[in-house]
Symmetry: C2
Subunit: 336 residues, 2 copies
């Protein structure tokens, strides 16, 4: 990557403002957790792993800013819960905060000077681990891809969504490194066009052949035989293998099965949530109607139009050929 | 309808500029065929029946503007061919022009004073017939719908696409007249958002319950059991029942079958093209990349991004439950 979407900068967190891509490459520096929560809410940073990493840094920053008298384990836990409430679907957010909170000493408040460096260290560790996990996902997935293959992806599960080279897109980066000629088709991914704004941009920066399509053109490309694999990321994978991901993923999975095209979910093991039995237990965030009716500042629907605007949907395990993880490929529930 | 999207105004054609809906209700008056061709190309008027009607008026206008010395049957035929070249997919365009051209006397040039009124009369007849056909489609289709049903539609096959109350939407208007409570889900229909800008607007004007969704949210609504029927229009139906319609229709048809939801194509018999054997013979218009990358004036993809931008796709007859026409319901090829 020519850029680092997430970076520690002293006692601050520096993020690429992804809402301004691809027009402008703007970095924002945050020195307090409230602004990072806002950045997560407005999708300046998005993607399950990237949200987790940013949240971990946010907690370290928040704990460091407490005065000595304010500081207590209880207060750090409260701050953790505040950060966890930023968005409801991505499990990495909860996982990362919980991992930091486990460092708090059991029976004493330890003291700020002891705890805050531990939180920073753990946040950096989460970040570094993610970088490695991305690479492993890429290597594991690349084995499935032959030179000349066409790959469809939905939304952005790339460097901009993680601490490394992405999950679904990691596979494409590794294929490219290996000299395999791949053709990527990027669903633009309405309403917020992460495919157009982020995936097409990332892959373009890397020199990977990428064709942008409207979401509703995926089916006809499948029928034309242009797509050999579908690979997407995930925001949370339930214990039974049901996977929540960007709205539209479920439809792509149904279409892939109908066209006999393998459908893979690429995600680190940290996206698997053993605490959620099935997809029915995954809370689906509803977004504002204006993301659909006034996308990018132009009103394109009647005033007051009623909309249905889920941010995610759940793809049942039965539609998933396999999970490409940092620990290898796990079979999904799709049998044909 | 509270508005007439297409209207003869003296020797001019008056059109609602559909590119400016729903923000502004602007009528443009055209006194020459070149401007009408441009209006068709830039989708100021769109929808197979509406294009046919506008083209017929355009030919009457063009023939009327010829000087006495310029006028000949050959010249009128040439003008007809010029108008036919406006867009390649909708069969009604060719059908309407051919219908007018058949009025030219066989062995003489007849004379402008005789021919031009015949062309105007035939254009008005096509317009009036379309109005009636829309109503019949609506009545035939309404028999399939029960109060409480949810109906998904794609693009705009409404009053704005025809000379009457539409094709797919005619069914919803008639249901509404009959007092059936229906819930309509309108695919926004990328890239040009005819669902958001036109269908949601039309149905809102009529007081019909309409929820706007991103195209990629249709599948999850189907899985939730919210959709009882899918009804779409068509730009051309081949002899074997393959139907060309707005890009995305094919995917919706695949999803409908996967969820056991009936999929209907609503169209007048004039949209059936016995001259085209199968969907493979239907030319699919490719649109400009900027409709995807710079929709509504805002660039949302990298500069120079490669895109695939077909305006239409073809749904094989095997995915179609039935055709709702002005002459009754014809079975499609879908058996389950």
């Amino acid at each position: 990557m020519k850029f680092r979407p997430i970076e520690r900068a002293g006692n601050c967190l520096r993020l690429i403002d992804q809402t301004r891509l691809p027009g402008e490459l703007v970095f924002n520096e945050y020195d307090n957790h409230q602004d990072i929560i806002e950045a997560i809410k407005r999708l300046e940073v998005r993607g399950a792993p990237a949200i987790g990493i940013s949240a971990a840094y946010a907690l370290a920053i928040a704990a460091g800013r407490l005065s000595e008298t304010e500081f207590s384990n209880e207060e750090v836990r409260r701050l953790g819960e505040e950060i966890k409430a930023a968005r409801p679907t991505a499990v990495n957010l909860f996982w990362a905060i919980d991992r930091l909170l486990r460092l708090l000493p059991e029976n004493s408040d330890g003291g700020q000077r002891e705890v805050v460096p531990l939180l920073w260290q753990e946040a950096e560790r989460i970040h570094e681990e993610d970088l490695l996990m991305c690479r492993r996902i890429g290597e594991n997935g690349a084995d499935l891809i032959a030179s000349g293959d066409g790959i469809l992806t939905h939304c952005n599960a790339g460097a901009l969504a993680t601490g490394g080279i992405g999950t679904a897109l990691a596979i494409m980066y590794i294929c490219h490194e290996q000299g395999k000629k791949i053709r990527v088709y990027a669903d633009e991914t309405r309403p917020l066009l992460q495919g157009a704004r982020l995936t097409a941009w990332e892959l373009g920066q890397a020199g990977i052949d990428c064709t942008l399509i409207c979401d509703n053109a995926a089916a006809v490309l499948m029928a034309q035989g242009k797509i050999n694999h579908v690979i997407v990321g995930a925001d949370r994978i339930a214990d039974n293998g049901d996977a929540a991901n960007k709205i539209g993923t479920y439809g792509v999975a149904v279409l892939a099965r109908a066209h006999d095209i393998p459908f893979y979910v690429a995600a680190p093991m940290t996206t698997f949530d053993s605490g959620t039995e099935s997809g029915q237990g995954i809370e689906i965030e509803q977004r504002s109607a204006t993301e659909i009716t006034e996308g990018f500042g132009v009103r394109t629907a009647p005033e007051g139009q009623k909309v249905y605007a889920p941010a995610f949907d759940v793809t049942p395990n039965g539609l998933i050929t396999g999970f490409i993880t940092d620990q290898g490929i796990r079979p999904g529930g799709r049998t044909a």
